[in-house]
Amino acid sequence: MSNLSSRPPVWSYWVVLPSFVLLWALVASFLKTPLLPTPLHVLDTLIRESASGELWHHLSATLGRVIVAFILSMLLGTAIGVVMGRSKTANALFDPMLVLLLNLPALVTIILMYVWFGLVEVAAVMAVVINKVPNVAVTVREGARSLDYRLEEMATVYDFTRWQRFRDVWVPQLFPYLMAATRGGLALIWKIVLVVELLGRSDGIGFQLHLAFQIFDVAAILAYSLTFIAVVQLIELIILQPLEHRSSRWRQPEATHA
């Protein structure tokens, strides 16, 4: 059970992914069609786009939208989730809306935002936030419901201030839920941002994919996608994992009790 749920060993990534690239190269060189470029051709496109500055321009536009939408969704979703988890009235008020929003396709929100507010940046970011907030709220609500009442009583007896209760009692308990929302959030948000860009922005990776689609430039499509996958993995490695490690240190005491 624990073997199945834990991450596979690092070497499997170094075996499976290169094998996949090799297979891709073989199939592509066998078919010899522009609809499936070889890995080398994609790399070539990547270097060209990077050298011209196009790649970085569009990458930073997309990344900017992802970051703003992510921060807004986490703040809003966490606030709503905590309130819903702690108050039955709030839960009764918000839950029907959550059900509605969770089942609303992202595409519908995006179209409605563009129709109502025009093809502007605010509409684009809002569409992403509206899609993501319900997911964050649902995850954080679970966390807020599982807050340990015994620690609440302790905090009451020892006259914790509101800030102490938030920082020292709630946040550490909510942390695993916030991390889950963050992980799911990044993955979901950048995918929605691409659609938002495809439908109504004039920069960003989604916009570039749109152009490439119109001229069937598969090499460009793959080059841009792979770049963004790399960026998201980089965020995971240099921000999320260290953060998680730092905040869960108390779970693995370095010494057994004396």
Binding site: R150, L151, E153, M154, T156, V157, Y158, D159, F160, Q164, D168, V169, P172, W250, R251, P253, A255, T256, H257, A258
Partner: protein
């Protein structure tokens, strides 16, 4: 110091009935009674944790500072012992002093999960001291400790009470032997809803012996 007036809950099936008592500084009360009768409920009411018992039911002359040793240690597992004590109001220096007074000198930087059960309970006791309590509430402080550790903790608590003569204590226990060492006053909680059946000073051995006899033989309510 504290006039206790609990009128029982106004709705639902009340666990606690009417409880009237006056607690003075220096009182060392052991609260005995059958398990599940509401001893912890009474402590929670005194600590102001039970919102179903009206707050005005408990009348104190001044705002009492209460240190509560729960059955579990309830230290924040993600904070060091020193940080846990500081959250209860101690300065870093005081935290070290309080930890030392329960035999945990130099353990300030440890996390609660790194401690044994007995050490964690003593750390929680140090946190009670961090609020400089007028009233110390102890909920079965010796439960699930081995006899040696329980004995050490008893001596430790008796010593802390001697060192702070202005402090009152209410200690929930199942064991009349604890009362012999710690108490100068006994409460016996029983009935449905539960009321204080006895409120006696231990000075009279006749009462203590009768009470201990009743604890050993619940059917024979032998005295008076």
């Amino acid at each position: 110091m504290l006039e206790l007036r609990i009128a029982g809950r106004s709705y639902g099936q009340p666990v606690l009935g009417e409880v009237f008592a006056t607690i003075e500084r220096g009182d060392r009360i052991c609260l005995l009674g059958p398990s599940g009768i509401g001893k912890t409920t009474l402590l929670n009411a005194i600590a102001g944790l039970d919102k179903t018992i009206p707050a005005e039911a408990i009348i104190g002359q001044e705002k009492l500072k209460v240190g509560y040793l729960f059955q579990e240690h309830r230290l924040l597992p993600w904070r060091t012992l020193s940080a846990n004590l500081q959250l209860a109001g101690a300065t870093p220096r005081e935290a070290e002093v309080h930890l030392a007074s329960v035999g945990l000198e130099g353990y300030g930087h440890y996390l609660p999960d790194q401690l044994s059960l007995g050490m964690a309970r003593r750390a929680a006791l140090a946190r009670c001291l961090a609020v400089k309590p007028d009233l110390l509430l102890l909920d079965e402080p010796f439960a699930s400790l081995d006899p040696v550790m329980a004995g050490e903790l008893k001596v430790l608590i008796a010593g802390l009470l001697d060192a702070n003569p202005g402090m009152a204590m209410i200690c929930v226990t199942h064991d009349g032997g604890d009362a012999e060492i710690l108490a100068n006053r006994l409460w016996y909680l029983d009935g449905k809803p539960a009321q204080l059946q006895w409120d006696d000073v231990v000075g009279e051995p006749r009462l203590l012996n009768a009470l201990l006899g009743k604890l050993r033989d619940p059917e024979g309510f032998g005295l008076v």
